[in-house]
């Protein structure tokens, strides 16, 4: 225990390394040549990872459940006292390991991927700033520091989506992500204010210890949890605020892997898992989360069926998988959600990096209809991509199997209907992932102008590491059914208060697993028949006549609906205020005040002409006035 306290005070080093990296690469961005920025950035994030691993072992060996490290007292105004402090417990250490571990691999990968880009130094500066913000988010010991990180990652996400800002469409995508996140953030900050109003504190420990004595269904707590949920829905791209995430694919692929798959978008999951005590008090919010999560999981998966851009497929798949995590959260199975978050970070980062490797090889082409036959030319990318596909589809013993099966079984406990719907989503996932795999790697190459080749080692190395994690990551949490001890879940449950207790009978569980495996097998075979045997290539956009498939192709017209219902009316309202109210009324009024003040200023300046006798006169006049004032009044 003594050891813990002395080591744990070093936890500030974890975010300090990437911050240092940001400062170095940012300030010297005109001096660093070639890969220097990438190497510096990667080393610093790796150091941060080592430090996180060190904290992990220090925490484990200490036997202590959590430790708070206060760096300094930050805000003190009336009742509001907010220290700048980090909370180190099992949950935050897990998140730190994911953020820095996967982050380091993606940084290394980016050295190869971004090689030769004009603004490569800015890229690494922004990536390091992102890592720093994300670490603040997961390490903060109160909601306000979490919020700083929350806003920081949002800002970096904006910068990195619009990294190639010369393309106006990419700029638009960045702005869209930012605006949509603001909607969520508004809910989040209102939630924090209400938290402070209710508990007179925003510190995790203080809030949660007070919350334990509250009754389930307290209206104020329900409102807080809903407001926080709004924030999470924005950041983690759930219905109705998910449309920014597919567009966010405009950023460089490593950005998609790090920010829009492995880390930032899971911030909402983390925040709710962290607030588990509050959510356990709000059954209404839990039900909302179940509905939102499940709907998003299925809805996004269906859209994913008909996407032809390799990154868009993965983006919808991310939205869908995040839906599963929300489902788990809504069921009260917080540790299952974080477990799925962990495995998802591995295999989804791997998928995106694999996609990056493919895009790299295809000379920037992202349309899967133009790929094909890459299996032979890019063996490392193929095998790692295959591992990730098997993982996300939930094939044992790959990691996704364990995490997804856990969520499905929790759903079954709650209501078999939930299970059936969730399983349906999983089957769709399996189908579009194998569709992607077959179209890209099997058959023959359909675009003859490029000559694909395996990516350099600096890119394949992270792929291999991530594929190992994707394959074996599930063993962290082997359920008792397979003779394991659900270690990861137990580990997390020291920081999270689970909302459910009952366990399924092993017979039921085996039944569920076997039936789902059979269905998955059938789906894979079906995909194989269509895309490999028959070598069916998806038709060009706008050709299909079937109304339903047309709707899917157009993503159910959600963007168009948002544009018609929200964007257009707001646009004309804003035009009205700008042209009529601002330009005709407010602006002239404000200008007038300025002009008047300025005129007064000139008047006062005239008094000061450098004339000594006037100065003396003024001084004596002032003294006389004061004398008259004090003696007479």
């Amino acid at each position: 225990m003594v050891a813990l306290n002395s080591y744990i005070t070093l936890s500030w080093l974890v975010p300090a390394f990437p911050l240092l990296g940001f400062l170095i690469t940012g300030m010297a961005k005109n001096r660093l040549k070639n890969n220097q920025a990438g190497i510096i950035a990667s080393i610093l994030v790796s150091l941060s990872f080592l430090m996180s691993a060190f904290l992990f072992f220090a925490l484990r060996s200490s036997g202590q459940e959590s430790a708070t490290v206060t760096l300094f007292n930050w805000i003190a105004a009336g009742d509001l006292k907010i220290p700048f402090a980090f909370l180190i417990d099992n949950l935050s250490v897990t998140m730190m390991l994911i953020v820095t571990g996967v982050g380091a691999l993606i940084h290394i990968y980016s050295i190869g991927y971004m090689h030769g880009d004009d603004r490569v130094n800015s890229f690494f500066a922004q990536m390091n700033l992102f890592t720093f913000s994300m670490l603040l988010l997961v390490m903060g010991a109160n909601y306000l520091i979490l919020f700083i990180g929350w806003e920081g990652v949002g800002f970096c996400s904006y910068l990195l989506i619009g990294f190639w800002f010369k393309n106006p469409a990419f700029n638009y995508a960045a702005r869209k992500a930012f605006v949509m996140n603001r909607i969520g953030d508004l809910g989040f900050i209102l939630g924090i204010i209400l938290l402070f109003f209710t508990f007179k504190s925003v510190g995790f420990t203080e809030v949660f210890s007070q919350a334990t004595s509250m009754h389930s269904g307290t209206p104020l707590v329900t409102l807080i949890t809903i407001l926080l949920l709004v924030g999470a829905v924005g950041k983690s791209a759930q219905i109705p605020l998910y449309t920014w995430l597919p567009d966010a694919m405009a950023g460089p692929t490593p950005v998609s892997a790090l920010i829009h798959a492995a880390t930032m978008v899971t911030a909402g999951i983390y925040m709710i898992a962290r607030s588990s005590i509050l959510y356990n008090l709000a059954p209404l919010t839990m039900n909302i989360m179940i509905i939102l999560g499940l709907a998003t999981a299925i809805f996004a998966a269906v859209i994913g069926l008909r996407q032809n851009d390799i990154k868009k497929v993965l983006a919808y798949s991310t939205v869908s998988q995040l839906g599963y995590m929300f489902l788990a959260l809504g069921l009260g199975a917080y540790s299952s959600a974080v477990f799925h978050l962990t495995t998802h970070a591995f295999f989804k980062a791997l998928l995106f990096l694999g996609a990056g490797s493919i895009i790299h090889a295809m000379g920037g082409e992202q349309d899967i209809r133009k790929m094909g036959g890459l299996r032979k030319k890019m063996p490392v990318t193929y095998f790692t991509f295959l591992a990730a596909t098997l993982a996300i589809s939930g094939i044992p013993p790959f990691s996704g199997f364990f995490s997804k099966d856990l969520i499905l079984s929790k759903a079954f406990e709650n209501n078999p209907l939930l299970y059936i719907l969730a399983l349906g989503g999983a089957l769709i996932t399996c189908f579009y992932m194998f569709r992607l795999l077959y179209l890209v790697f099997f058959g023959s190459q359909r675009l003859s102008t490029v000559h694909p080749h395996e990516s350099p080692r600096v890119m394949t190395f992270p792929l291999i590491i991530l594929s190992i994690l994707s394959v074996f990551g599930g063993f962290l949490n082997i359920p008792s059914l397979f003779g394991g001890d659900s270690r990861f879940g137990e580990f997390l449950n020291k920081s999270i208060i689970s909302g459910i207790t009952e366990e399924l009978g092993s017979a039921t569980e085996i039944g569920l697993i076997v039936s789902s495996l059979i269905l998955l097998g059938l789906v894979i075979l079906y995909a194989y028949r269509i895309y490999v045997k028959k070598a069916d290539i998806p038709v060009a956009d706008g050709v299909s006549t079937n109304i339903f498939s047309k709707a899917i192709e157009n993503k159910f017209y959600v963007d168009e609906i948002y544009s018609a219902v929200i964007e257009k009316p707001f646009g004309s309202l804003s035009d009205f205020f700008f042209n009529k109210v601002e330009n005709k009324v407010l602006d002239p009024a404000v200008d007038e005040v300025g002009i008047l003040t300025s005129k007064l200023g000139n008047l006062v300046r005239k008094l000061q002409q450098g004339n000594m006798s006037f100065y003396l006169f003024a001084m004596v006049a002032g003294i006389l006035l004061f004398i008259i004032f004090i003696l007479i009044v």
Partner: protein, 457 residues
């Protein structure tokens, strides 16, 4: 006390070093003296020692203000290394006079007797009259010196007359005794005491350039050598406010209502007149002079809201203000040199293009003066307002906040120049030391704005 004696000794040493004809020695020796004096000052922390039949009391208040002034003077001396490089003669006197002025400032922070205060003010002022005329061949420098001296002696006369009147009524110079004397009248003072107190307050108000006794300051600030202006705007102002605060806190509070109202009128006038005159100002030194008058208004606000913590708020405000003002004057010196002696705001044009870091740090410093977070200037204003509002001075606080907003205009006007393009930029040359010092000040202003701390005095 040892700090004060040592300071005087070092002043004399530096003065005689002038015969050695080695300019390089001066600043290091002078700074050594200041540092030793600072250490000796800090050793007395918490002792509350009394000297000369209690005419001087060196308590935590005086030590805190002395150390703050020492730090700023060290800063000015470090900048002086480069500034006085071109000056051939009488450099030693410049340093020595500033050190002597500082000894006067020390008396002003630790008096408990009106005679001691008078001595302090005079010891501070006389070197300044000479320093203002430091550029002997410059017509404007001579003019500044003469104006400062003439108006200054005028104010001193009032001040002395005030002391005489109070002594005539109460037969004492000791502040605590004057306090008991005043207390027996229960707020209705005889006219003689009332007048005496008014004259004393006006004398001090003149020193810190409170409106309507501010007329000297723009002319003197403009004409004096810039480093001396920096000294006047920071160290002298800090000393004046320390004396003002002590005068009120130790002896005169609670003031009779008419006198208190008089001081509030001065506060409001300073804020208003300083701001309005600064709005269309085109000379940078005059701009900072008016800006100093506005800051005087904020300091008055802190001082008049007397409270347990108001001394620490006042100290924080003066220190933060000085920390931003000194490097701004230095940046100005470099721009003036680059433009061959111009002092208009337009000389800052093209700064960002040439020395981006300098423009960035200038932004931080100006933001601090304007009171924009996350700089220390914001926190300083914030604490003043919290203090004055908690004491119930709501109307004047709101007025001061509005004035703070107006101030942003002219600070940012300077920034606009710095960030706009110049047609024919002159090369800006800056020594490594000065560059480092500006950066250090800028970073300090940021850090003081982020990490909240309080010195209990």
């Amino acid at each position: 006390m040892s700090a004060l004696i040592l300071l005087t000794v070092f002043g004399i040493i530096v003065l005689y070093l002038g015969f050695a004809n080695n300019k390089a020695l001066l600043a290091p020796v002078a700074i050594t003296g200041l540092v030793i004096s600072m250490i000796l000052s800090l050793k007395d922390w918490g002792l509350g020692s009394k000297y000369f039949h209690d005419m001087m009391i060196i308590d935590n208040f005086s030590i805190a203000f002395n150390v703050s002034m020492l730090i700023i003077t060290i800063l000015i001396f470090l900048f002086g290394i480069n500034y006085y490089r071109r000056m051939e003669h009488h450099v030693a006197e410049q340093y020595a006079l500033m050190i002597f002025a500082l000894t006067g400032a020390f008396l002003m922070t630790s008096f408990s007797n009106l005679i001691m205060l008078f001595l302090g003010i005079e010891i501070l002022s006389i070197p300044l009259y000479i320093l203002a005329g430091g550029k002997k061949t410059s017509y404007r420098s001579n003019e500044a010196s003469f104006k400062y001296f003439l108006l200054g002696s005028f104010a001193t006369a009032f001040f002395l007359f005030g002391i005489a009147l109070v002594y005539g009524a109460s037969a004492t110079f000791y502040l605590p005794e004057i306090k008991t004397y005043i207390a027996q009248f229960n707020g209705h003072l005889p006219p003689m005491v009332m007048l005496g107190l008014l004259f004393i307050l006006i004398g001090v108000a003149f020193k810190v350039a409170v409106a309507p006794f501010h007329f000297w300051s723009p002319d003197v600030y403009e004409g004096s050598p810039t480093l001396v202006t920096a000294f006047m705007a920071t160290v002298v102002k800090t000393a004046g406010f320390a004396a003002f605060y002590r005068l009120l806190g130790m002896g005169l509070l609670p003031l009779p209502a008419p006198l208190e109202k008089t001081l509030w009128v001065m506060t409001g006038l300073s804020l208003l007149v300083g701001n309005l005159a600064a709005l269309n100002q085109s000379n940078f030194k005059r701009l900072l002079a008016y800006s100093a008058i506005v800051h005087t208004g904020f300091m008055m606000l802190a001082m008049l809201s007397q409270h347990d913590s108001s001394a620490s708020v006042l100290l924080y405000y003066t220190f933060v203000y000085s920390l931003a003002t000194v490097p701004l004057f230095i940046i100005f010196i470099h721009m003036k040199r680059a433009s061959k002696g111009l002092e208009e705001l337009s000389i800052f044009r093209g700064l960002y293009k040439q020395k981006p870091w300098m423009a960035v740090f200038m932004t931080i410093l100006l933001m601090s003066l304007a009171g924009i977070p996350p700089t220390a200037g914001f926190l300083a204003k914030y604490r003043v307002f919290i203090l004055s509002i908690s004491r119930g001075y709501l109307a004047i606080s709101i007025f001061a906040i509005v004035m703070a907003i107006i101030g942003i205009y002219y600070y940012f006007y300077v920034l606009r120049e710095a960030f706009s393009e110049s047609d024919n930029p002159n090369p800006i040359e800056i020594s490594k030391l000065n560059a480092v010092l500006i950066v250090v000040c800028g970073v300090a202003v940021l850090l003081l704005g982020i990490f909240v701390f309080q010195i209990p005095i």
